[in-house]
């Protein structure tokens, strides 16, 4: 990340912030979508996170830590969006059909169904750890820094989350799309 851009945005340079937002927007949105499992909520969370980044940038002491800091604000926004709508909790729905359906590693639609089901059972904090580590490839210490929690907490959450996802995958196969509501 261009720390000069961060510094200029900290000083109130809207043009610099626009460049920052363009640079990080896609990634923030991708993370939010994977945490919340809902396109509308993810868009709202990303928008709120970007506004929070603008508002709080002057309080970021080290511009080099912008990226980790931005994920913290994003996860915070995901919490807020998750509280606004409970759609992500009990209402299971399949991934939209127009999204790319990779075949590598996913043996069937049943796996997706069960993964989706298992992931939605996790709390936002557990989901965030899984997404930051397994989607962004962030090392656990970096995840801990981004979330502002001890590394041990991150390890514990990751262990718990992966155990839950494994249990979901190992569950007896059920008819695919039985509960789909798209």
């Amino acid at each position: 990340m261009d720390t000069d851009l961060v510094t200029r945005a900290q000083g109130g340079d809207e043009g610099a912030f626009v460049s920052l937002a363009v640079a990080v927007g896609d990634r923030l949105h991708a993370v939010a979508h994977r945490i919340l499992r809902d396109t509308d909520l993810a868009e709202d969370a990303t928008q709120q996170a970007l506004l929070a980044i603008w508002q709080d940038l002057p309080q970021l002491r080290d511009p080099a830590r912008f990226e980790a800091w931005s994920y913290r604000l994003l996860v915070r926004a995901c919490y807020a969006e998750g509280r606004k709508s409970r759609r992500w909790a009990p209402n299971l729905r399949m991934l939209p059909a127009d999204e790319p359906m990779a075949t590598d590693g996913l043996s069937s639609v049943v796996d997706r169904d069960q993964l989706e089901r298992g992931f939605r059972r996790l709390s936002i904090d557990h989901r965030a750890v899984v997404v930051l580590h397994h989607y962004l490839d962030m090392p656990l210490p970096a995840v801990a820094e981004a979330l502002g929690v001890p590394e041990g907490t991150v390890r514990s959450r990751l262990h718990y989350a992966m155990r839950g996802l494994r249990a979901a995958l190992d569950a007896d196969a059920r008819p695919a799309r039985r509960e789909g509501s798209q």
């Binding site: 949105h29 506004l51 603008w54 991934l95 796996d111 904090d125 929690v149």
Partner: protein, 299 residues
């Protein structure tokens, strides 16, 4: 049976699916709001800190927490609902069992809203009042900074607040009238009086409390049923503002129980927002959490 490696591979592959691009309209929405979204300058924090002597704060915070714990116990004894009259006789030792028993090390309250694990949590650094309390399953909370702690039932996380502030709205209905600062050295009565004199809210059930040697005032604040005709701030019907700029606002008809405690010159404010939809079981949960509150170091 899947191996750990299988699960990791499958999860990673699954996460790789899905959207990766932020729609332009979302970014446009952010940029449209920039002109009306002022940046929060760190200097505001720096200006406010010298007002409070750190030793006084540390000492006061500990004492305030003690007062808080006892007052909370008094007002949430069995049979006392959130909106009811306070107990006429201060009870020096509601002695919540959690406050005296030996417990595992409290879990630190997070800085982001999180579902809390059932058990004892401590709202310590950076919050100036090290409050410890025990929550059941289904509670969330966070430390909002040096001046704010929030906790409550999932979906209602602001049900219980701990706050330290000295800035109140001149008129919540006329947001452009701004705020007035109360000198920190003024008493809890000054804040209670200022709230009672504030237009646009109704203050009732005012009573003095004296707990464990510390004095305080408790009252009930009720917002009007409608804000029609008001010129609201962006945060709504704002009643007071914390030192870092966070606003406390009320919704139409909201009813809050407020405790203002004087702890060696520092005012600690506790707010319980009454939710009409609370079930008896949820009210019992609040009472249990209140009963579990304790402060370290003990007086």
């Amino acid at each position: 049976m899947s191996t750990d490696r299988d699960v990791t591979r499958i999860v990673r592959s699954w996460l790789d699916e899905g959207v990766t691009q932020l729609p332009d309209r979302v970014l446009d929405g952010v940029l449209d709001q920039l002109p009306a979204t002022p940046q929060r300058r760190a200097g505001r924090l720096a200006r406010r800190f010298p007002i409070m002597n750190s030793n006084i704060v540390r000492f006061g915070v500990a004492a305030a927490a003690v007062v808080l714990a006892v007052i909370v116990g008094i007002n949430f004894l069995p049979g006392t609902n959130f909106g009811g009259q306070p107990e006429p006789t201060p009870t020096p030792s509601p002695s919540p069992s959690a406050a005296t028993s030996t417990e595992p090390t409290p879990m630190p309250l997070p800085e982001e809203f999180m579902l809390l694990e059932p058990g004892t949590h401590v709202a310590g650094d950076p919050f100036l009042v090290p409050v410890t309390f025990t929550v059941p399953d289904g509670w969330e909370g966070r430390i909002g900074g040096p001046y704010l702690v929030l906790t409550g039932i999932v979906g209602k996380p602001s049900g219980l607040r701990f706050a330290i502030f000295d800035r109140i709205a001149v008129d919540p209905c006329q947001g452009d009238t701004g705020f007035v600062d109360l000198p920190p050295e003024q008493s809890v009565d000054d804040l209670a009086t200022a709230l009672a004199d504030m237009p646009g809210i109704e203050v009732t059930d005012v009573s003095d409390v004296s707990v464990d040697g510390y004095s305080g005032t408790q009252l009930t604040v009720t917002a009007p049923d409608s804000f029609a005709g008001c010129t609201l701030q962006s945060d709504g019907y704002v009643i007071w503002q914390l030192p870092l700029g966070a606003n406390f606002s009320m919704t139409p008809g909201e009813r809050d129980r407020v405790w203002i405690l004087d702890v060696t010159g520092t005012r600690l404010v506790i707010v319980v927002t009454e939710e009409p939809g609370y079930t008896d079981a949820q009210r019992a949960e609040f009472q249990a959490v209140f009963d579990s509150i304790r402060i370290e170091p003990a007086p």
